[in-house]
């Protein structure tokens, strides 16, 4: 709390400093460009939300240090949505009507993006979302853009890599078990996997979901094991991802490919807690410190993030979400600069047409606002021998297998031997 305020003060001071730098400009121009959003700073997603906020404040500071946008400093205005969808409509109207923000971006996660959509559509605002899965499938709003690299068909593109990899292997898998948490993302992930399984002719031998607060996963893993599936696809949230991995290693899950859509295995605290138990798992990821993904600016950003994140009880490495939280503001900034305006129509038009260079690489949007081509990585945890943080900051522990153009190593197959 205190630290948050201090950050706010720092950011404010930075903005003031930037304003002072360009004090020569006309008074009206020095009025900051306000970027408004809600963010989960308490509640279930607060860990992720706080780390995203740090990344966004780095963008704010750097942008202002470089002279701001359109000759004006930028200023982030944000409120805590408490990971509660019901607070979101109120927050965005406050941002738009009381704070009179110029630009809006979303908070973190599908549940907190969707409630803002009706307001955006009513006012024809350009809206860049942070990690929403298939939100626009229902709204079909042409000024919606989404930074999660799921791909143009988010539900199936999400697990495409996992299944393409599975079908390339020898011996070819024939059966699959699907298991996921009873929650928004996990359900969608498993839904996509189910479609792929049918298309590839895999026999679904287990298809179950569980309550997210399940304390012990051994009965579930045993029930899966009893059906002897070749592939086990899991859609899970952080606490249950840990539970599944623990149960799978304890029981000695015998399958050829294990993982898929497990949220949380990307977080530093969870990786260090699980350590060698992760070996062999093939799971989605968005950015890992592999040489193939060393985009321009990402190292500098991570250095700043890691310094800022120290002692805040948030993800200390900042690979997974913070890079993208930085990138979605970069895109916004670049669009404002290129169009030289704050006109939402022009911004949306530019975003539909342009390929952006960001810390997460080149970003190009499809007509529905998703990435034009999926870059959901499939990585395999390999050669992890300890629980140290440094292990996971090195290349080679999370090897990129998919998409092929970013691949940095070879899959170890089957899972029982990759362990």
């Amino acid at each position: 709390m205190l630290s948050l305020n201090r950050r706010g003060l720092l950011a404010g001071a930075a903005a003031l400093g930037a304003a002072a730098l360009i004090a020569g400009a006309p008074a009206k121009a020095a009025e900051p460009i306000k970027v408004g959003f809600s963010m989960a700073l308490t509640g279930g997603l607060a860990g992720a939300g706080k780390s995203a906020l740090i990344a966004m404040q780095i963008w704010e500071k750097d942008t202002n240090a470089a002279g701001g946008l359109l000759g004006r400093p930028v200023k982030l205005i944000y409120y805590d949505d408490q990971t509660n969808a019901a607070t979101v409509p109120g927050i965005y109207t406050k941002l738009l009507d009381v704070d009179k923000v110029d630009l809006v971006v979303s908070g973190y996660g599908t549940n907190l993006i969707a409630p803002a959509m009706p307001i955006m559509m009513q006012r024809n605002l350009t809206f860049i979302a942070l990690f929403g899965l298939a939100v626009n499938d229902k709204f079909n709003y042409d000024r919606y853009f989404q930074i999660l690299p799921a791909g143009p068909k988010p539900i199936t593109d999400w697990s495409r890599g996992f299944f393409e990899l599975a079908m390339e292997q020898d011996p070819k898998p024939k059966t699959i078990a699907l298991v996921g948490a009873d929650a928004e993302f996990a359900k969608n992930a498993v839904k996509g996997a189910r479609i792929h399984a049918k298309n590839y002719g895999l026999e679904i031998v287990y298809d179950g979901s569980y309550h997210p607060k399940t304390p012990d996963f051994t009965p579930i893993v045993r029930a899966i094991q009893a059906r002897k599936p070749d592939v086990v696809y899991v859609g899970s949230y952080p606490p249950d991802s840990v539970g599944m991995v623990k149960a799978a290693t304890e029981i000695g899950l015998k399958t050829k490919l294990f993982g898929g859509g497990m949220v949380g295995l990307q977080y530093a605290t969870i990786m260090t807690a699980l350590g060698p138990k992760l070996n062999g798992i093939v799971n989605y990821d968005f950015w890992v410190p592999e040489p193939t993904l060393n985009f321009e600016g990402v190292e500098a950003f991570l250095a700043k993030y890691q310094a800022a994140a120290k002692g805040k009880g948030v993800d200390p490495l900042g690979y997974y979400l913070p890079t993208y939280a930085h990138a979605y503001l970069e895109i916004l900034g670049q669009a404002v600069k290129a169009t030289n305006s704050l006109d939402h129509g022009k911004l949306a038009e530019h975003m539909r047409a342009t390929t952006y260079d960001t810390v997460v690489g080149k970003v190009k949007f499809a007509p529905n606002g998703e990435w034009a081509k999926t870059r959901t990585l499939m990585v395999q945890y390999q050669d992890i021998k300890d629980n140290e943080l440094d292990t996971f900051a090195k290349a080679g522990t999370r090897v990129v297998l998919y998409p092929k153009e970013w691949a940095s190593g070879k899959i170890r197959y089957p899972y029982t031997e990759a362990k």
Binding site: D80, T93, V98, N111, F139, D182, E184, K187, S209
Partner: protein, 313 residues
């Protein structure tokens, strides 16, 4: 016409005026007012059982959510308009309340409270597993952009919520003044004695739980249109259960003004806290205020006012 009814009509007329014109151009106030008014309905509904009758309902969130989910079913089935959703949600939750009333046959005091908690969990699990209403993935309900003659649809929603709040308060006031209310007080003070005195306790309890359930369902019905996206975690949010209890406690549980004052104060404070301190402090405030009030002012704000300004109404 009593002073109360003149006041009620005035409130509705003022609401109508504000919602139909652009005197308040800033739609944030409508979004915020909606939430506060929704809590007025919830807190008033809770108080009919909790305050008048002494039966604590921990499952308010369950009723609220079932109200919302009934609206979603209506929306999915026939794209029903709001004014159809509201009474239907009320009826469904009223029936649930009736069922809960039968539970009081066997369960008294704390057992009943825990029963309601369990009920909410069972209902949440049911919704999580019911794909027709979105299951765990959630359901989208796209609200119309405009509603004549209000303009922005949210203005209309807020006005509807205002009317519902007035109805809820009027119902609570009626309960309080009727013989029915005195029967409930007797149940609260000593159920066994009330029964011995010839008060038809079961019938009174059933009416009270049904009414309370009905009002909670009504409060939940517009929720899908307000947020646009409903999933079990947000619909069954603990905040509803907590606020439904905390607001009457702070305002005072013995008369209808208590929950209204509590909801207006705490609800507004939360709305302000949401957009100012924006942090964990919000929760802390609810916790501290609740502890402070229950220890220092057991009769709530209404009690304090009575104490210092005589026994005026």
């Amino acid at each position: 016409m009593t002073r109360f009814w003149i006041g009620a009509v005035a409130v509705i007329a003022a609401g109508l005026l504000l919602a139909m014109t652009d005197i308040i151009a800033n739609s944030f106030w409508f979004f915020a007012a909606y939430v506060v008014l929704q809590y007025v309905v919830l807190a008033t509904a809770w108080n009919i059982m909790g305050g008048y009758m002494g039966y604590v309902n921990f499952g308010s969130a369950g009723f609220f959510a079932i109200g919302a989910y009934t609206a979603i079913v209506m929306y999915n089935l026939i794209k029903a308009p709001l004014l159809v959703m509201i009474p239907l949600s009320g009826v469904v939750c009223g029936l649930m309340g009736l069922g809960m009333g039968y539970l009081t046959l066997r369960l008294r005091g704390v057992y009943f409270a825990i029963g309601t908690l369990a009920l909410a969990v069972v209902l949440e699990t049911l919704m999580v597993n019911w794909d027709y209403v979105g299951g765990a993935t959630g359901a989208y309900v796209i609200r119309p952009r405009e509603m004549e003659p209000f303009g922005d649809y949210v203005k209309f929603l807020t006005f509807v919520m205002l009317v519902l709040a007035v109805i809820a308060v009027a119902a609570a006031r009626w309960v309080e003044r009727a013989k029915f209310g005195r029967g409930l007080h007797a149940i609260r003070d000593d159920e066994l004695a009330a029964e011995c005195a010839g008060i038809p306790t079961l019938r009174l309890k059933l009416i009270a739980t049904t009414l309370s359930g009905f009002l909670m369902g009504v409060a939940g019905a517009p929720f899908p249109l307000y947020v646009g996206f409903v999933e079990p975690v947000s619909a069954f949010n603990l905040a509803y259960a907590v606020n439904a209890i905390a607001m009457p406690m702070i305002g005072g549980t013995t008369m209808w003004a208590g929950p209204v004052i509590g909801a207006l104060l705490l609800g507004t404070a939360q709305q302000i806290a949401n957009v100012t301190i924006s942090s964990e402090l919000n929760l802390l405030i609810v916790g501290l205020v609740l502890v402070l009030f229950v220890t220092l002012a057991p009769e709530g704000i209404v009690g304090l006012v009575r104490k210092y300004f005589g026994r005026g109404r």
